[in-house]
């Protein structure tokens, strides 16, 4: 039985110098057979296991992770959460996630530090203004909160933005989603891991998948560095390495894996209490609870699995940041890193069955998967348990690349991909 975290447990453990906290999850050796195996122990994979156990009564599950949980893109993103997407299918998908975020800390009994500080998207040219107004209307028709702001209102909401008309890309307006915000990324992985473990899910770290065993058109199990694991259902949530796993099963995916970079500054006192994103100049910034500015850069245009990107990408982003926020001109950057993001041609994810029975893929989240973590896990668990997609992820099937029914969020969403 898992001890509940509360103010009392905190006081009790403080008295023993925090040396007697119960382990949040076990470190099991893999069993011979599971009802379902999730490949990838990031936020999405752990959430999938959690909801499979919680809502679909499948408890004999393993999550296999080649490194440590939350060590991939879950630990590398800029933690922005929003649902202001243009198309109905995306709005349904991302707002489903946002609604779960709103009560996630209570549900998991784990503080994921979800902070609805608002996300503001800036317009820098007339086409941006038209696009953002159109998106605001589309959002409101889908029941998603969105308002369009004038330049003065942008300045009032975030006073450190340079709204002078003589900068290279002047701020002509913006949109604001107040329910949007940020969360603590590691806590999301740890909270789901602890919740899943409590329901009997085996979380197996340092266990890399080496092959997928098929019997004709059905899955029989997976070969791993810790031996063969028999299972009839495999859910792959491997982000940048999805194509590598697909290749083991003889499948091809419409993905390209590219480096995406982010960086943080030295910590300073609170200066920006919201998230500001700019599509046109590709700069987005927020401030962590530690005081660091968290800055997201763009992707490189070539395929790479190296988890490091090009210097000029970071340079371009920082040029834009300094033009918009002259107050940051003397800030020093402390750390910079890259993650490998799997990008679909239509910049929308894939949560889908495949041509192989018992093999499911949750991938293609590209540069914006973190925000969807709870919803993605919930819908993917539904898809695996019922062998049919939920109505909210039905549009995000693999077959859309054959039928042509794409969910084209390239440039239509709030930020460039």
């Amino acid at each position: 039985m898992r001890n509940k975290y509360s103010v009392f447990s905190l006081i009790k453990n403080a008295l023993s110098y925090h040396e007697n906290w119960q382990r949040a999850w076990k470190d099991p050796t893999p069993k011979k057979e599971y009802d379902a195996v999730i490949v990838g122990g990031g936020g999405h994979g752990l959430a999938t296991a959690y909801y499979l156990a919680k809502k679909h009564n499948i408890n004999n599950i393993a999550v296999v992770e080649k490194g440590w949980i939350g060590g991939g893109n879950t630990g590398r993103n800029t933690t922005i959460i929003r649902s202001n997407y243009l198309w109905d299918a995306s709005a349904g998908l991302y707002d489903h996630a946002l609604k779960i975020w709103e009560s996630l800390s209570q549900e998991l009994n784990y503080n994921v530090m979800f902070s609805q500080r608002g996300v503001m998207n800036l317009a820098h040219n007339l086409q941006d203004v038209r696009d953002l107004k159109r998106r605001t209307h589309a959002n409101r028709l889908n029941g998603i909160d969105a308002v369009y702001l004038s330049t003065e209102e942008v300045k009032k909401f975030c006073p450190i933005i340079n709204t002078s008309p003589d900068i290279r890309y002047p701020v002509l307006g913006g949109t604001l989603q107040r329910r949007a915000g940020t969360a603590r990324h590691d806590a999301v992985a740890w909270g789901y891991a602890r919740g899943a473990d409590a329901m009997g899910v085996d979380i197996i770290q340092n266990c890399e998948v080496k092959g997928i065993k098929r019997n004709g058109d059905s899955v029989e199990g997976i070969e791993t560095t810790k031996g063969f694991i028999k299972t009839k259902k495999v859910g792959v949530v491997a982000a940048g390495h999805s194509s590598v796993i697909a290749n083991m099963a003889g499948l091809r995916l419409p993905l390209e894996s590219k480096p995406l970079q982010a960086l943080v500054s030295e910590p300073v006192k609170p200066i920006i209490d919201t998230v500001v994103m700019s599509n046109a100049v590709h700069a987005y910034v927020s401030q962590s609870d530690k005081g660091e500015l968290v800055i997201g850069a763009g992707t490189d245009d070539y395929v790479s699995y190296t988890q490091k990107g090009s210097h000029q990408i970071v340079e371009g982003t920082l040029n834009a940041i300094l033009e918009l926020y002259p107050i940051f001109s003397r800030m020093r950057m402390l750390r910079q890193w890259g993650g490998i993001v799997d990008i679909c041609p239509d910049a929308s994810p894939i949560l889908s069955k495949t041509s192989i029975k018992g093999l499911y893929f949750n991938c293609g989240w590209g540069t914006g998967g973190f925000k969807a973590t709870p919803g993605s896990g919930d819908l993917f668990a539904h898809t695996i348990a019922n062998d049919e997609p939920h109505k909210l992820n039905a549009a995000f099937n693999l077959n859309r690349f054959v039928s042509g029914d794409l969910v084209d969020e390239h440039g239509a969403a709030a930020v460039a991909h």
């Binding site: 194509s243 390209e256 070539y302 790479s304 190296t306 054959v402």
Partner: protein, 91 residues
Amino acid sequence: MFLINCPYCGERDQQEFKAGGEAHIERPKQPTELSDDEWAEYLFMRKNIKGVQFERWNHAHGCRKWFNMVRDTSNDEIKAIYKMGEKPPTQ
């Protein structure tokens, strides 16, 4: 970031170049006879290899010519560069 040896201009910084994706994807010879599955394969499906991959690059801020590259995507090491129309190196 790495240096790329443009077959026309010589070694230049990677930021002068634009990546053009997977190489040697042949346009279907008889497009009218293609099924939807075959179109999807041609248009969208990619090898996305972790390891040695054949790809197209363009010297966008230089001679603006296209060429092919063999590159290991697991460490960004460039194995070979050859001009458009030339046969890809076998090893």
